[in-house]
């Protein structure tokens, strides 16, 4: 059903927020859970509700870019378990592709910025 409303192969592409979330998970390594990812994004000036972050994480999981599992419960979290995330091979591949595309386009962006024209 979903495929009827999706134009092209959107499954293979990631948005800017998805890219940042993937990078944050990679940066945090084995400590990549919701609150830590949220704080890592806040550190780079990207403020968002935790619900929005979980929506993004859920989308990435549906696309097969990340995997999640429940960790230990702590009193600090009211006895609730942490949900950890890990970037899968498909996630790494899509990040590399995005980075390649950016690298190919960035020299022209540089010229435009230096020249003062859009």
């Amino acid at each position: 059903m979903k495929g009827l409303f999706v134009m092209g192969k959107s499954k293979d592409y990631i948005g800017e927020l998805e890219e940042l979330v993937l990078l944050a998970i990679i940066k945090l390594g084995t400590n990549a859970y919701g609150a830590a990812i949220h704080e890592a994004l806040e550190d780079v000036g990207r403020k968002m509700a935790i619900g929005a972050l979980y929506t993004t994480l859920s989308r990435l999981e549906d696309k097969g870019f990340v995997d999640s599992w429940l960790g230990e419960a702590t009193a600090e979290r009211g006895g609730r378990a942490k949900k950890y995330f890990k970037v899968l091979a498909a996630g790494m591949r899509v990040l590399r592709e995005t980075e390649d595309a950016r690298r190919k386009l960035s020299p022209e962006l540089g010229i435009a910025l230096v020249g003062g024209t859009a």
Binding site: N31, A35, H38, A52, T74, K82
Partner: protein
Amino acid sequence: MKLKKGKPLRFRDKIVDRKAMERRRATIIRDLEGIQRKLGIYNGKIVVLDGLDTQVPPRIKVEVQFEGSTKMEATGTVSRGLDDEVVRSPSEAKPQQPPVNAEFILHLLLRKGEHEGLIGDLVELYGRKCARLGVRRANLWFYAEIFWTALPLIKRAIIKGGLIALGEWIRRHIS
């Protein structure tokens, strides 16, 4: 030292012996590690800030460092001298509980597998906000988070409900 009835005992004698001070530090830290376990602060550490330079410190000031950069100051009581255990845990270091009614809204909207991670993260972040901003502002932050978190969940529920209704309508009209 003169004692007056009803007034608390105060110990102001400074320890000159550095080794004795180190022993005291080790004792207090060992005791605090017990409290740490009791409080369930598994991802942090306790640093003794004050109370080491008195011979029998009735109160010691500690700093509880949670995971990340969050810090919380608390005061604990040592009851019986040098090698005694800390009998009263630092009450300020207990994790604050967020408003229950706001949390309940999420319970209604979230799917079964989403409860643990999302609400746990919100509670954890709420505790850090409490330490940084105070309970009142942390409560406001929590309500705002619930609002912005609930919006996409409500949207999802409406879309899901709408699709089910549409499916029902099509099924009724085709059959």
